[in-house]
Subunit: 110 residues, 2 copies
DNA sequence: AAAGATTTATTCTATATTGTATAGGTAATG
DNA sequence: CATTACCTATACAATATAGAATAAATCTTT
């Protein structure tokens, strides 16, 4: 396993967003989820570029949905995290947790 | 606050290592601490390059120690995290925590 | 005590990967 | 055909990473 098997900072955030959103994850909702939960501004291009990279690593799969009957309701590209992707988040989080153990930073991080 | 106020993945790990090591933090121990706790192989060049970047952002300060009376005991460059650096880790961790809330990944991450 | 070998440590340099924004394109409906 | 929601392309900046080169000590040997 190479060092590069750890998720980058933004990749990490994106994967977590996908996991939370489950079957509702597509470009717009991913961006929203991140902005709402972290207050961080995210450009839509950054979201897609990052997801594309995750997909090319096999951490994410995508499929095209059906168009929806609303103005501009073109079909969405839905994303889901693969088992390999879940393994990568776990690996990344495990490393952080092990480095954090015993430090008193913010409470919610055990 | 710009997006870039979040620590990168490896920057994050490095800062945590510095915090753990307190006044014993210098190149070699930082590398060791990370390798031991995360089982991740780290090149020494990566450590210094990253710390330099953190220093230029004001997240870390360094000072030169005295030589020690052992073979090859040239003086070490010791590092410590600044208040600004602590704020940055907290910001970074807070974002991750908020994205992780409610997901069941690894247990130790609350 | 000086030269060279050895050890611990840091710096330099080069490259790959990740992060980020913007502009432009596509497929729906009104 | 105007508008809306969504996606793609592209370019550039920042971060990650390795490896070789350099530096500053001590040790060994003569």
């Amino acid at each position: 396993m190479s060092s590069r098997d750890y998720l980058g900072e933004f990749e990490h955030i994106i994967v977590l967003a996908l996991l939370r959103l489950e079957d509702r994850a597509y470009g717009v909702t991913v961006r929203q989820e991140i902005e709402i939960r972290t207050k961080r501004e995210v450009s839509i291009g950054a979201v897609y570029a990052t997801i594309d990279r995750l997909e090319s690593k096999g951490y994410v799969k995508s499929h095209l949905g059906d168009p929806t009957p609303e103005r501009g309701g073109r079909s969405k590209r839905f994303f889901r995290v693969t088992a390999k992707g879940v393994a990568a988040v776990n690996r990344t989080q495990r490393a952080l947790v092990s480095m954090t153990q015993g430090l008193d930073l913010i409470r919610s991080y055990s």
